[in-house]
């Protein structure tokens, strides 16, 4: 504790130690409000809002990603004898036409079947036949005309051919077949019906008509085979429809303009003099869903921050009066010079200044909902425009500002903070341009404007402060 007491310390300690003032009732009312369970819950949420929002954003993102991925995956299960053989996408099947000794066309569908057969399958056909033991099946009847080039292979492509298996007696799932093998067992136990599809189908069935494609690749006249196959190939080489989903990450350096339409010119001038814009930036993580060739919808989470510096000088003027004793002489006509002491009072008009420096920040966490319209597309470029509302989730402020009413500095961490905790709805309009880097990645350029529609300050303050900003977004898009 203190070892060197000063008379001033004692003066103030004795005078103020037990000093008491009348406490205002509204402070108790505010304290009383905080004791309710609802307030405690809300306060807890407010204190941890960043954490909760991060978790929520993560869950939304993961859910969206999961939906996007799973929506493209076919059902692999076979339930009670009914199921679907998943689509085979651009899987090349090589067919060896039979040799003279080998009257059965060897169909190698190993790749397709292996790719789609569950891992737990118990092979039943793997040990059934060797190439020399392969025999014709009804599904793949023998080709009457032997070919000179017995080992010629002809690739074809099968695209998106979902096949539904009904009443299949599949106790052991389809086993991978070796090149040149078609097992009797396989063809006997599977009844295949074609699923409704607009794409070409490849169907393996017992006692069914030979699929059109198989016919096409087993020509009677070997000389015509290449042409037919080419036709078939061109017919079936339909490009895969890309996913309508993509994800975008953008960052922007912002140029911000503050508006206070309802504030007095003097207050606006004082704020303009004291507060300088330091920096402003925005980051957005968005998902894009392509509605059609020209329209797409974009939404996600946006984090914006505006940094300002406050340099405020408060001048306090006061008058200082001091008395001093002066010794001098007067000439007494009777007694002669006489020494006297008199008091001289000096009056000084003085001023003191206090300097307040503060770093202010305004943070917005928003959800933009933007509709994009594509005006022009080329091989690499797509140009358009987007716009829509931005819904604010969180608006936080730190630092100090000049009070709109009392001319003093307000700490924004106190209840005197004139700002709202919710920034309302804003509007965003962007010009959009994207440059395709490859199949999956695009570069994005989006200059645009963000318009503050709602007042950021409470109504009684009479400021009606808003921000408009010019955004220069650049970013990257991943197309699924």
């Amino acid at each position: 504790m203190n070892e060197n007491r000063h008379p001033l310390d004692d003066l103030f300690r004795d005078g103020l130690d037990q000093h008491s003032v009348e406490p205002p009732m509204h402070v108790w009312e505010r304290i009383d409000q905080t004791r309710t369970p609802v307030y405690k819950l809300m306060n807890n949420f407010k204190q941890h809002s960043r954490w909760y929002l991060s978790v929520a954003a993560g869950l939304v993102f993961m859910s969206a990603a999961a939906v996007m991925f799973l929506s493209d995956k076919p059902d692999l299960g076979l339930v009670e004898g009914q199921g679907t053989i998943p689509a085979v996408s651009q899987t090349e099947i090589r067919i060896e036409t039979p040799s003279e000794e080998q009257s059965v066309p060897a169909l190698a569908i190993q790749e397709a079947i292996e790719a789609e057969t569950p891992a737990s399958s118990t092979p039943t056909a793997s040990s059934s036949t060797s190439p020399s033991a392969a025999r014709p099946t009804e599904a793949y009847p023998a080709t009457p005309a032997p070919r000179k080039n017995a080992t010629q292979t002809e690739p074809i492509t099968i695209i998106e051919a979902p096949v539904t298996i009904e009443n299949a007696q599949v106790e052991a799932p389809i086993a991978p077949l070796e090149k040149g093998e078609v097992t009797e067992q396989t063809t006997e136990i599977i009844q295949v019906t074609e699923a409704p599809s607009t794409t070409p189908e490849a169907v393996v069935a017992e006692n069914e008509e030979i699929p059109e494609m198989v016919e096409a690749i087993t020509p009677n006249d070997p000389s015509e085979a290449p042409k037919k196959n080419e036709k078939k190939e061109s017919k079936t080489m339909i490009p895969l429809e890309p996913s309508p989903w993509s994800i975008e990450f953008l960052g922007s350096y912002d140029f911000v303009n503050r508006r206070m339409p309802n504030a007095s010119p003097a207050y606006q001038a004082a704020r303009k003099q004291d507060e300088k814009m330091a920096s402003a930036y925005t980051f957005q993580l968005r998902a894009q869903y392509r509605l059609n060739a020209v329209f797409s919808l974009r939404s996600g989470i946006s984090y914006s921050r505006i940094n300002e510096t406050l340099n405020h000088t408060a001048i306090e003027s006061y008058t200082e009066i001091t008395d001093r004793q002066v010794t001098g002489y007067i000439v007494d006509p009777i007694n002669g010079p006489t020494q006297i002491t008199y008091t001289v009072r000096d009056t000084f008009n003085r001023s003191s200044s206090s300097q307040v420096n503060s770093n202010n920040s305004y943070t917005f966490i928003d959800v933009p909902v933007l509709l994009n319209y594509t005006l022009y597309t080329s091989n690499k470029w797509a140009v358009g425009m987007s716009g829509g509302p931005i819904f604010n989730l969180v608006f936080q402020q730190k630092g100090h500002i000049l009070s709109p009413t009392q001319g003093e500095i307000i700490d924004l961490s106190t209840s005197a903070n004139p700002f709202r905790t919710y920034a309302g709805v804003n509007l965003m309009l962007n010009a959009t341009a994207s440059y395709s880097l490859n199949k999956h990645f695009d570069l994005l350029f989006e200059p645009g404007m963000r318009f503050g529609l709602s007042s950021l300050t409470n109504t009684p303050t009479g400021i009606n402060q808003k921000y408009n900003s010019l955004n220069l977004f650049t970013g990257i898009r991943y197309n699924f």
Binding site: R13, H19, V27, I31, R35, S354, Q355, S358
Partner: protein
């Protein structure tokens, strides 16, 4: 209602006991808060936050020392937390040719509590907090340095400046008194 009953009631979160506790100590504590807050609004914020902490932690009061002292400590710590949280980088004040008064030459007449309070509240923030902590709360320079995150030399220097500033104000006050007489 005795102090013990008040405390027990607050532990049970009894609203009447909490109100009684507030009525008993809020006046003194608001005076404490006003010495640390830059404005009355800020002082009320400190008072509010301080009492919320008191109600939340009253069960932790073990009776070591006075209950009023415990509450006062919470208020001061709340004010210091606000001070640390504040992003004020510096605050300087220009004092024009201040003159020192020898201790033995100081003749102080009775100065009202209101005037003393006004002087303390008028201290620049950095000086004010050090003077309040050292002269009125009885903190040592080491404790002040620890609480404010400064070194002890800074604390001593700020205290000296605060005393000098207050001396000037006291003399002005005395001169005004003389003029009235």
């Amino acid at each position: 209602m005795s102090e013990e009953e008040l405390i027990n009631g607050c532990v049970r979160e009894d609203r009447a006991s909490q109100y009684a506790l507030y009525k008993t100590y809020a006046g003194k504590m608001l005076a404490v808060c006003r010495r640390y807050g830059r404005t009355d609004l800020e002082a009320e914020d400190i008072l509010q936050e301080g009492f919320i902490k008191v109600f939340d932690n009253v069960s932790k009061f073990r009776g070591n020392g006075s209950f009023e002292g415990w509450i006062r400590r919470i208020m001061v710590n709340t004010a210091l937390k606000l001070y640390r949280k504040s992003s004020f980088k510096n605050e300087v004040i220009g004092i024009d040719d201040g003159y020192d008064i020898p201790q033995e030459a100081t003749v102080l007449e009775k100065i009202s509590q209101g005037e003393l309070m006004k002087m303390v509240q008028g201290l620049p923030e950095g000086y004010g907090i050090v003077f309040n902590l050292y002269a009125i709360e009885g903190y040592s320079h080491a404790e002040i340095a620890d609480n404010l995150g400064v070194n002890e030399g800074t604390s001593r220097s700020q205290l000296a400046k605060a005393r000098k500033w207050l001396q000037k104000k006291v003399i002005e006050s005395q001169n005004i008194e003389y003029e009235r007489k």
